[in-house]
Point group: C2
């Protein structure tokens, strides 16, 4: 059967930060109303909703929809760790593509400030949780291995944070905006889990984001493809660190589904919960060969003004990481970039964008999910 082409016709986000006094619904309402307004629609013109959240309360979908006039449409939830919001976008895209629904809103929402006093630790029944390995420690193991295996200096990790925080300084909605730190400040910030220092770790954020997916129309950002993989079993003998094999496989499928290669991609938002994450991800999707991803930030390749800017929003390191919202915040940034609406952080001439989110595995699984989407800017650039 022939598929419907799909586009993103509207996006919206809340501000990102720590808002423990606010209701989680309020964060979502900001994002949803902005997205629907941006699409030029009224709430009654939305046909279905997918809501991604990891730690949101039961009934999160109807809970956030009812307050903005979206009660009564078919609603679904998605949970795939850090990729929860991106899975919501993927499912919205699939539903429109297949003709199941007309206009669909994908929403991500999370409020970590009211739930966690420290970092997230996997469940105590998981091997990682039993060993007391909080998320920063898990990424630190990847980082240590990477530095050792490829003979890379720790400064190259820190350059990723310097770059993304410089980008985020131009994002008024970023959790950690403001004056960006120097390389020395990143290196000398408090050690969290060696070799990762505080400023190489994303903050625990609250926030929401949303996107309206609809049959493609001129003026939309087209979703050229959205690919989802769920991780296979992960063994200690796996030659790649946690999640990398799944990201690589997903990227290969995204490029195979289009006529594009990584060289065609003008701007990216990828999963940089920790500096090492951006490096491994960019290697997995083919921006650099293994062991060379660490040079991409320090060389300027992935900075705004470089050949392939990565995380112009500031990424998770600066914009913040409200888990279930992240994928849709990435989508919103890329839509703004492709429309030329990104203000001081605009990537010049951005035409093709790549969105990647990887939700970490549990119970021995390589990844809960990885979603990679390729987006194309509107036919008439503004």
């Amino acid at each position: 059967m022939s598929e419907q082409r799909t586009g993103i016709s509207g996006v919206g986000t809340s501000s990102f930060g720590r808002f423990p006094a606010r209701r989680i619904e309020e964060l979502a309402w900001e994002a949803i109303t902005e997205a629907i307004d941006d699409a030029g629609l009224m709430p009654g013109e939305i046909d279905a909703a997918y809501v991604g959240s990891v730690f949101g309360p039961p009934g999160i979908a109807n809970r956030v929809l009812a307050g903005v006039g979206l009660a009564g449409i078919p609603t679904f939830t998605t949970e795939a760790a850090c990729a929860s919001g991106t899975v919501a976008l993927h499912e919205a895209d699939q539903a429109v593509r297949a003709g199941r629904f007309g206009r669909v809103i994908a929403v991500g929402v999370e409020q970590l400030s009211t739930r966690f006093a420290g970092p997230i630790v996997p469940e105590p029944t998981d091997p990682e949780g039993r060993a007391g390995l909080a998320m920063p420690a898990l990424y630190a193991l990847q980082a240590s291995r990477y530095l050792q295996e490829w003979g890379v200096a720790p400064e190259l990790l820190a350059h990723v944070a310097v770059k993304n925080k410089a980008h985020g300084a131009h994002n008024p909605r970023a959790h950690l905006g403001g004056q960006p730190p120097s390389l020395e400040q990143v290196m000398e910030s408090r050690p969290i889990a060696g070799p990762l220092t505080l400023l190489q770790c994303c903050p625990m954020s609250d926030g929401a984001a949303a996107a309206v997916v609809a049959p493609y129309a001129s003026g939309d950002v087209e979703i050229l493809t959205s690919q989802l993989s769920s991780g296979g079993l992960w063994g200690s003998s796996d030659p790649t660190p946690w999640g990398v094999a799944t990201v690589r496989a997903t990227a290969a499928r995204a490029f195979a589904a289009t006529e594009l290669t990584i060289r065609d991609v003008d701007v990216m938002e990828v999963h940089d919960a920790f500096t090492i994450g951006e490096i491994l991800t960019l290697e997995a999707i083919g921006v650099a060969p293994p062991g060379r991803g660490a040079e991409l930030a320090s060389s300027g390749h992935t900075a705004i003004g470089g050949a392939q800017p990565v995380n112009p929003s500031g990424g998770l390191l600066s914009r913040g990481h409200p888990l279930g919202s992240t994928g849709l915040a990435q989508a919103a940034e890329l839509v703004w970039q492709l429309r030329g609406q990104a203000g001081e952080r605009q990537v010049g001439g951005a035409r093709i964008a790549l969105l990647e989110t990887m939700g970490g595995g549990a119970a021995g699984v390589d990844a809960n999910a990885c979603v990679i989407a390729l987006l194309r800017g509107p036919d008439e650039s503004p």
Copy 2:
């Protein structure tokens, strides 16, 4: 586009009860392996999975799939309160029907014993939660109104529990099996929230259930239709109690999608978390007119041996109510009934079955979701 006919080719469940010393994964593994065996498949022949849970840990989908050889297939979660498992079944059905995936497993899993010491209370930011109305109290308000409005004696509520617990006495996997209580014992059990007594409230259970959905083949239980509604806004001026309007609308769509009426239905599993729930549900789907549903249990109409047996498994009141699992436990029971495999609780000549689950609303929404499916027994009855 023409839709694929769909069937359930295998079902499985764990035992239901309180198993705080077990891992939530183990409960799911029992259900999944039984369902795949029942379908005559190997794990490698399953193409995708939908996992419903309300309070399961992050990553619940891959968590339960990895241990039984199902890692790496596309996995999705569903959360819609008590209807979470039924939404998983609905989404599996939709995916197979549309040709998105071949064979899909729907799983429901929940472990309440490790999470709650008392009844579930809505979130403190909800009007119900702010008023301290736990779930039994919310249903008690419905029951009080019903008794008053229709001049019904409280005994008629209790008859629902007597019936379902008599059914459940023949279900070796029921949480509250064993010797069923008398009418007096139900009436005289501890008051929970007037007029509901202890034995009119479902237990807080642990358990899991699963079903394999595939393109329809002879020998399968056919899914004639599965309809999902998400609730609209609920106002205090609504003429029907909480959720009823959504159940009624969903039932109307299920019958409209088939050539069937409620009179064609031979056996049902419906959402009887509290006795009043079964009564209001049966009225909403047309088994009895408003105000007359209370007579259905005491008259024998809905008992095994009656004209339209309801909840032959024992229902939520006896089998138990592990929230996310319930819809798939209902599906398993109906598949066994339609195949003639229900042993001492077999409904004679059951050919058409109705499955209904309603997930309660939150934040002023009538219902998170209601799913109603109509199932048809295998072509060659055993």
